[in-house]
Symmetry: C2
Subunit: 407 residues, 2 copies
């Protein structure tokens, strides 16, 4: 007799769905398809030789420690390096407030584990990062949403949403995934003040902040909050900040970090102990070796040059190939832009036809926590070179023209 496994799953398992994006990515593995669907960094900018040298140095000088179990908090020199780096953006952080995670997705999971009871409401943007929804659905989260426009999360809607009693606010202020927009300074200040007034914590997810191609750096939500909350040189504030090496070094190393006040970080560290003991020691040593001499600063500049050219190529191609009635965002950094097509087009329904036409995007629907928006798509501009970008957008434009003509 077979085991009736399906009677054994936890309730939360019934809410789990395979990520629409990851399933799409499997469909588009065919190299003939020009894919704007992934969130993939360009492999051309991986600093392969620096990583090779780092691996060699780590194995020569530190093999006994780097191949061994490590501390849950993470490799101290790496945390010190991150703390130094963060200080440059105006937030004084101690290494003790930093936890190294296996990618930012794990940061989201751990935050869910530590904070979310079944049925808790999370206040977030719509559209927002799909991975956060996927992480927090597993803990039974519900969502209260506010809109996002070209200046980021619409703070005018926040107070109403705060009065529903959310557990925390989740925001991606820089080059937001999926829209590519950034929150204005004004709105950041308002967000911090409002969260402070209601005593509701903010999770600031910042994977793309360093990838700014133009315009001035805008102080982070954590930096603005720190002005209110540093006491005796100790940060006691309202914000948990997350960032990652995935977009500035390599996602395949799975290295990211969380910054949180003392009492909070100790809870997240405990959750991580039970979850996977610690992040890969070897990878942390390698990232430190690559980064500690300042290499990442110049490398980020290089990435920005490459991505700026690709963004420009995509904006030009959109201008050239898109039919009337199609609009898009004009990101000043990051990896993505967001396209809105006329209401008569359903980008989810169009997707199989796009794949037949050998071009792929992510239908916008899945980024909306409460669903209901079907005329948007996320386009990634970091992965393909300018020529491919032009080809792909041309295919997409042709398709959309046919769609609109037949509608």
């Amino acid at each position: 007799m077979q085991t009736p496994w399906d009677h054994r799953y936890a309730q939360r398992t019934q809410r789990m769905k395979a990520s629409a994006i990851r399933e799409l990515l499997k469909l588009v593995e065919n190299p003939e398809i020009i894919s704007f669907a992934g969130g993939l960094p360009a492999p051309d900018v991986f600093p392969v030789e620096q990583i090779r040298e780092a691996c060699n140095r780590v194995l020569t000088d530190h093999s006994a420690a780097a191949l061994q179990y490590g501390s849950t908090e993470g490799y101290l020199p790496l945390r010190e390096m991150i703390a130094r780096h963060t200080s440059r953006s105006g937030v004084e952080i101690k290494p003790e407030n930093i936890l190294i995670t296996s990618g930012s997705q794990q940061g989201l999971d751990l935050i869910g584990k530590v904070f979310i009871n079944h049925g808790d409401r999370i206040l977030l943007e719509s559209p927002t990062y799909l991975g956060a929804l996927q992480a927090w659905n597993q803990y039974g989260a519900e969502y209260v949403t506010v809109s996002t426009d070209d200046d980021g999360m619409v703070t005018e809607e926040i107070e109403q949403a705060l009065r529903t009693g959310p557990k925390f606010i989740y925001v991606l202020p820089n080059f937001q995934n999926p829209m590519g927009v950034s929150m204005s300074l004004d709105r950041r200040v308002k967000l911090v003040e409002m969260a402070d007034r209601y005593g509701v914590p903010i999770i600031e997810d910042d994977p793309y902040g360093q990838l700014r191609f133009e315009g001035e750096h805008i102080p982070g939500v954590n930096a603005l909050d720190a002005k209110l909350h540093v006491q005796n040189g100790k940060y006691t504030g309202n914000v948990i900040y997350m960032s990652t090496f995935s977009k500035i070094l390599s996602p395949g190393l799975r290295l990211a970090w969380i910054v949180a006040p003392d009492e909070v970080i100790s809870k997240i560290v405990m959750a991580k102990q039970g979850t996977d003991l610690h992040t890969a020691t070897f990878n942390q040593y390698v990232a430190y070796e690559v980064g500690h001499g300042g290499f990442l600063d110049q490398h980020i500049q290089h990435i920005c040059e490459v991505y700026k050219e690709r963004r420009d190529a995509m904006l030009d191609a959109l201008e050239e190939h898109m039919p009337d009635g199609v609009t898009w965002t004009r990101p000043k950094g990051g990896l993505f832009l967001w396209v809105r097509v006329p209401d008569v087009c359903d980008t989810t329904e169009m997707f199989p036809a796009a794949v037949r036409n050998k071009v792929a995007y992510v239908p916008g629907e899945s980024f909306h926590p409460l669903g209901g928006v079907t005329n948007t798509m996320r386009l990634n501009f970091s992965y393909c070179n300018p020529e491919k970008i032009n080809d792909g957008i041309s295919r997409l434009g042709k398709m959309l023209k046919e769609e609109l003509y037949s509608a």
Copy 2:
């Protein structure tokens, strides 16, 4: 005003405790202390040059893929290699049934996530692996325990425990952590039959199975179950099997795997997507490069020779230095043995004195899911060389003699 973080944590967070072992390990970082506390492989057996060559080959031949995001399931050639290897022990496994995890601890966490509702009972050995308790406490698990003796989990007690309706059975049949004992073939067969009769799944955790120094290989619980449950070449059985590269290659790479029937593995894969997207791609490529030519077979032999010598050193030292009334297990493999001291000694209370005497162990109490046993300790024999082992056991013996004399 400060944010009242402590009012924001989820209920599960209140159950979280820092691992006793990991906290102990911080205490014993002083190099003068001879530590039998960790579960650390000997760094002398890390195959540093093989890993260096593998890193170089991966970065030369596969950098674009190895540094990029990867599939949640894991690098296919690595899963194929594991499948081939598993087949040698008599269980035909397809790569599709294998998920690569960030260490076995993540396997335990994902199993908890997919199966455990708050209040669910898990049937396990007492004492058992602490990390499993730590993972599953976070999902609100309760425990039903059966004893373990020199032949492993006492199957005579299982039926009674099964009638309490546990969600699953958790067992470490080979060189169990913490006791070092292995389950006899007889008992394995009984366990599989009983689980089958009650329709209760088994989680078989096997990190040490390949580290056998003497005696015959005993078929795994999964192999015995497969005899009942292979239909048309497809495994539809009752067992989720876990193993790891931590003890045969390097724990710092954080690479382990789960094997489960089709429908179950797909749920665990979904849970992993939301948890950390995927295991570090680079590390998977490196492990494949190190392992695929058969190197691990000879390497495991080498590890066994080193550890056997250390186990023998520890058994000899115990014989020489321990006072009457102290007993211990005689493992045929693995990393640990288990010492029982007279009831008047409380190994938890003794611990600070041990550290003052510059020797460390793990008090046995924390391995007992329901607590209550205070006269045991776990000793690791893989990490220290024979000379240190003799010194450390001598210090421990002296201390115990004083303890007993003063009692």
